[in-house]
């Protein structure tokens, strides 16, 4: 088996793939799915380093992060029922809930506390105002409390000042759909396609061998010494040979279809992220497959054409190669 990378590394590749671009704001949607807590911790640690070194903004949504992972974040946004309950520094979140009347027990993870304190079922256990009877504090009330809390006021004060567009650099907002010119896009996609083709060269060698073997079988089945020209019976056999050739060359290209199909998820992702347009994906595949299918149909015709006894003119032979090549390409 060829050696690959681990699950955690894969997640980092997914992030790294976007980090190499010019984007400065990254939104990560539950990147810890399917990972254990120590791997999640490691990944978030790298993210933190990156945010601080490369000066980017990251919003990471996590479900039930471990306390040490939670401690890596600078700011917290707590969402409940579609509303922002808290948004601000991590250090001040407990203070806010204490001001409302909920206290996080000492041995409880803050992340778990935050998740439970907004739910109707688990809220009561954190009630800290002993002299007042507990009543359910709904999300809406929490949101209103946050608006009057100093962190909330600071946030709304910052938001109240409109952004002065004249201070921005004109190049700060991206207005081109793709990062590089069409020619460069084509070159990049072409070289990647060539690389992928080289990596899976085994399949192409295998397929060429396969069609050679099939051609050997076909030429011995439809041997021209046993097929007369000019009779109805012979004509049927020639038709059979042609049909068999057609089917073979066509189905030889079927494997290609499956291979392209498996690549589609990656293509959809990269297209949506504006890596390249659809034509830059399709054109290199199309162009690079032409020599392959030429070779395959060439071998087929070379082996079967004269042994089966089709029209002996050279131009007809070339016609045959091109015709089957067309079929291979269409597939």
């Amino acid at each position: 088996m060829r050696r690959g990378i681990s699950g955690g590394q894969k997640k980092r590749v997914t992030t790294g793939e976007m980090l190499v671009g010019p984007a400065k704001a990254l939104f990560m949607d539950e990147i810890s799915t399917g990972l254990d807590s120590s791997t999640t911790y490691q990944i978030v640690k790298f993210m933190r380093q990156m945010v601080h070194i490369l000066d980017v903004t990251m919003i990471i949504s996590l479900l039930q992060p471990a306390p040490e992972t939670y401690d890596l974040f600078d700011d917290i946004i707590l969402l409940s029922e579609g509303q922002i309950v808290y948004q601000g520094p991590r250090e001040e979140v407990l203070e806010f809930f204490e001001s409302v009347g909920f206290k996080c027990p000492e041995r409880k993870g803050v992340a778990d506390f935050l998740q439970e304190v907004t739910s109707k079922k688990d809220q009561e256990q954190y009630w800290s105002k002993r002299h007042e009877p507990y009543r359910y504090v709904s999300t809406l009330e929490l949101v209103n409390c946050f608006k009057s809390f100093r962190t909330g006021q600071r946030v709304s004060e910052q938001l109240r000042i409109p952004y002065d567009k004249s201070t921005a650099h004109p190049a700060a907002l991206v207005k081109d759909e793709y990062g590089i010119s069409n020619m460069e896009l084509f070159k990049a996609c072409f070289s990647r396609e060539w690389l992928l083709m080289k990596r899976s060269s085994f399949i192409y060698i295998f397929k060429t061998t396969q069609i050679t073997i099939m051609a050997l079988i076909a030429m011995t089945v439809f041997l021209r010494t046993e097929m007369t020209v000019g009779t109805v019976e012979g004509g049927g056999k020639y038709y059979g040979a042609l049909f068999f050739s057609l089917i073979n060359v066509m189905f030889n290209g079927m494997a290609e279809m499956a291979m392209t199909m498996t690549r589609l998820p990656v293509f959809f992702k990269q297209r949506d992220f504006k890596f390249y347009p659809a034509w830059a994906f399709a054109l290199p595949i199309y162009l690079l497959r032409i020599p392959v299918s030429l070779l395959e149909s060439g071998i087929w015709i070379l082996l079967t054409y004269y042994t089966i006894g089709f029209a002996p003119a050279a131009s007809r032979y070339v016609d045959g190669v091109l015709f089957f090549n067309d079929f291979g390409c269409v597939v």
Binding site: P22, F27, A172, S181, R199, F202, V266, F273
Partner: protein, 131 residues
């Protein structure tokens, strides 16, 4: 006129890891970096050079070379990739094979048979060489 394209200023990173398993980590990142381009880095560098010239500042040659290297477009391998690989602690030469196998259910079987076939051929060849 030209509308702002949000997909290119910010990036959404989904839960699914979709990569070509046949490419190494470095190749994956290089390709992505090549396609995404350098963004505003080139314009910013040009602006910086202009201001430096005006103020008569001579930039440090090493930093200058670095700035120019990361602002170059359409390179097959770039310094940015090196940097991201380093910060993410990723092995550059390994293939991202795992995702490939998960991606296609038949992939594992095909790979298995391919390898068996190759092994068989190499055993045959080594036998032939030995005799």
């Amino acid at each position: 006129m030209h509308e702002f394209v949000p997909q290119r200023t910010c990036a959404y990173i989904s839960q699914h890891d979709l990569h070509h398993g046949e490419m190494t980590v470095r190749e994956t990142l290089d390709f992505s970096g090549r396609c995404l381009g350098v963004g505003a880095r080139y314009e910013l560098l040009a602006e910086l050079l202009r201001r430096e010239k005006e103020a008569g500042i001579k930039p440090d040659p090493e930093i200058d070379a670095f700035m120019k290297a990361i602002a170059m477009e359409g390179q097959e391998a770039s310094l940015v990739t090196d940097y991201v690989l380093k910060v993410c602690c990723l092995p550059s030469q390994l293939l991202s094979t795992i995702s490939y196998i998960i991606q296609q259910p038949g992939g594992l079987l095909i790979k298995f048979y391919c390898n068996r076939f190759l092994e068989w051929i190499s055993v045959l060849i080594s036998r032939w060489v030995m005799t």
